[in-house]
């Protein structure tokens, strides 16, 4: 029975977050929290792997504040068998290195045959946690997985996209895969899944449970620090000439295209 660990992150709807230009702090009040969309594809693939293997267990894991349990409940509603919240005040303020360290300790406890994660999270957009998790574990890593062709408890054959082509790899398990959107179409939370998720108890693992060295987690374990945040430079609203007929509009536009067209 293979254990499949899926890493999830709860993120704000990133497109709605702004920087307060005066205080230079994030304005995220009223911005809805959601499961990072790429991670939903990882979860779906985990559930499909379990179905293909004819058994096993999919455990959704998230490091975050108590509210992140909501993201884990959604994972349960979408087909995960179990969920664990990695939560402690000493985990707060973690950069990717410290986050991946805690996830690696969770992997040590769960002993999965496969770890799946989204290609990146839409808030910080780093795409580093998955690769760093593989590094802490010293497991093989495959990013940008577009298809899992074959899977058995010992091995997987996957297709992944690089900038200039598609690579087909045979990988010994355990391994870490990060997935891209084309890998699948995530199923929606089912009625029975929602019912189960609502009633499920979600265990919280803290630094004692994980045997984590506090110096390696949270702010203390993070080599990088945010020196400053600020809004991106404002753009001037562009010129908007009026055009009477479509033909006139097309003429203006064609002129503009000729002017701007790259050589």
């Amino acid at each position: 029975m293979m254990e499949i660990m899926v890493c999830l992150k709860q993120v704000p709807d990133a497109a709605e977050v702004r920087v307060d230009p005066a205080t230079r702090t994030l304005m995220r009040q009223g911005v809805a929290a959601m499961v990072n969309p790429f991670d939903l594809h990882a979860l779906e693939e985990g559930v499909r792997c379990r179905e293909r293997l004819g058994g096993g267990r999919v455990t959704a894991v998230s490091m975050g504040p108590p509210q992140a349990a909501e993201a884990l409940r959604e994972a349960l509603a979408r087909g995960a068998d179990a969920a664990v919240l990695l939560g402690s005040r000493v985990f707060a303020g973690a950069d990717t290195l410290a986050t991946s360290r805690v996830l690696a300790l969770a992997a040590g406890k769960l002993a999965p045959g496969l770890i799946l994660a989204g290609k990146q999270a839409i808030d910080a957009d780093t795409g580093q946690v998955g690769p760093e998790l593989a590094a802490w574990l010293d497991w093989p890593l495959v990013c940008y997985v577009a298809k899992i062709r074959e899977i058995s408890p010992a091995r997987a054959v996957v297709e992944r996209r690089l900038d200039s082509g598609r690579e087909v790899l045979e990988v010994d398990l355990p391994a870490v895969f990060t997935v891209i959107r084309e890998i699948n179409e995530p199923r929606l939370p089912s009625f029975k899944g929602r019912l189960r998720a609502k009633k499920a108890a979600i265990p919280v693992w803290d630094e004692r449970e994980l045997g984590a060295d506090p110096a390696e987690t949270g702010l203390a374990g993070s080599p990088t620090a945010v020196a400053e945040i600020f809004p991106p430079p404002r753009r001037e609203r562009g010129e908007m000439p009026t055009a009477g007929t479509p033909a006139e509009a097309a003429r203006l536009l064609a002129g503009k295209i000729r002017e701007c067209r790259p050589a």
Binding site: P189, F191, K198
Partner: protein
């Protein structure tokens, strides 16, 4: 909307159906309508979301939880808010399952219901070319032949026809006996002698398939007959008693969806420098639309709950639910077009489709004239009993 004190399960069912409708149906409804494309992948998603069996008891793989008809209505309404045509794949499948639930024996229920709960599509067939409002005039015959029957005849306007896997079909087993001479059978797609004819091109509910069923020496074992021989019309009447609130819910969902769009548009659209919703004339229109929608909902929910509680003769309430809600849907959707003005008449906006989809709900599963006959008949009977 009023608080109807839905159970926790029902609230989750509604939330599931709503998300499914918004995520899977909304993006494709216009295309499916234009292309008259049957929504197989959406019905699969409905099944994957555990909604295909909300009216089927747990022992047969469903999740009726003692309130099958209310559940069916809630899901139908929610899907219909986004697309009454695509929602019909679900509602009509339920209609096909009801005769099995009502008249099937234990073995028959075990044979077909778990498949339907898992996503096998159903359909129900009575109507024929010369037997619409007058089903007793039907010509499809089921003739005893050894330990089975041989079916011959053609059904018409069958929703989910050609697409469904499991069909509940009414046929005459003894024409002499008239209303007591019909029996109900389950016929599976692929049965020898069972084929499909012309598919209708329709004004509305275009994502739904409406097609002829053709039986040519189609042999069926007796084990496919639901209930005893001659009980077919009784089964059909009981089926309609339970299914008409479902048609009402489809109409209700269409009306509620159109109302929501009209309110949204009226707040956005500006004329004379202010949103058109600030006109009292338009406000009163919206108020009337909302009142009718809520009244339809209250009637349907009360009827559905009464049926689930074991009502013996819910015929009048069922007919009222269907008749009232479908008339409401027609008025509300036409008024919604009026709120949109010129663009409401354009196919570029979704609102005209709501009106096209609404019209059928006044016609099928008994025209609203037939519903009024039923209601009047029940009134007369009740008065005579006093």
């Amino acid at each position: 909307m009023l608080d109807y004190f839905l159970s926790e399960e029902q609230s989750l069912m509604v939330a599931t159906a709503r998300e499914l409708a918004e995520r899977k149906i909304l993006p494709v409804r216009a295309r499916y309508d234009e292309e008259e494309r049957f929504p197989h992948e959406i019905f699969r998603a409905i099944a994957e979301a555990d909604l295909a069996g909300v009216y089927i008891p747990e022992e047969y793989g469903g999740s009726a939880g003692g309130s099958p008809i209310m559940n069916m209505c809630l899901v139908t309404e929610e899907l219909s808010k986004i697309c009454g045509g695509i929602a019909l794949s679900f509602a009509s499948s339920a209609l096909g399952a009801l005769p099995i639930l009502i008249a099937g024996d234990e073995e028959q229920k075990r044979r077909w219901l778990p498949r339907m709960a898992a996503g096998a599509l159903g359909a129900f067939a009575i109507t024929e070319a010369d037997a619409g409002s007058d089903p007793v005039a039907m010509r499809t015959l089921a003739v005893r032949d050894g330990d089975g029957y041989v079916l011959n005849g053609t059904k018409m306007f069958i929703t989910n026809g050609g697409e469904a896997e499991i069909y509940s079909v009414l046929a005459m087993t003894d024409r002499e006996k008239g209303a007591r001479g019909a029996s109900c059978f389950v016929v599976e797609k692929g049965a020898p002698g069972f084929g499909f004819g012309r598919k209708e091109s329709k004004m509305g509910i275009r994502a739904s398939a409406t097609r002829e069923l053709i039986f040519q020496d189609c042999r069926l074992p007796a084990a496919n007959r639901l209930g005893r021989e001659g009980s077919g019309f009784m089964t059909a009447m009981k089926t309609f008693d339970s299914s008409r609130p479902g048609v009402g819910s489809q109409a209700l969902g269409i009306a509620a969806g159109a109302l929501a769009l009209a309110i949204g548009y009226a707040r956005e659209r500006k004329q004379f420098g202010r949103p058109i919703i600030s006109n009292q004339g338009l406000q009163w229109m919206l108020a009337d639309m909302a009142t009718q929608v809520e009244a339809a909902r209250a009637l349907i929910y009360a009827t559905a709950r009464w049926i689930d509680a074991g009502a013996k003769r819910p015929t009048m309430a069922s007919a009222m639910s269907k008749c009232f809600a479908s008339d409401v849907a027609m008025r509300v959707t036409i008024d919604a077009i009026q709120v949109f003005g010129g663009v409401g008449y354009s196919k570029e906006y979704p609102i005209e489709k709501y009106a096209r989809d609404a019209k059928i709900t006044q016609i099928y599963e008994g025209t609203n004239q037939i519903q009024r006959d039923e209601i009047a008949l029940a009134l007369i009977r009740e008065a005579a009993r006093k």
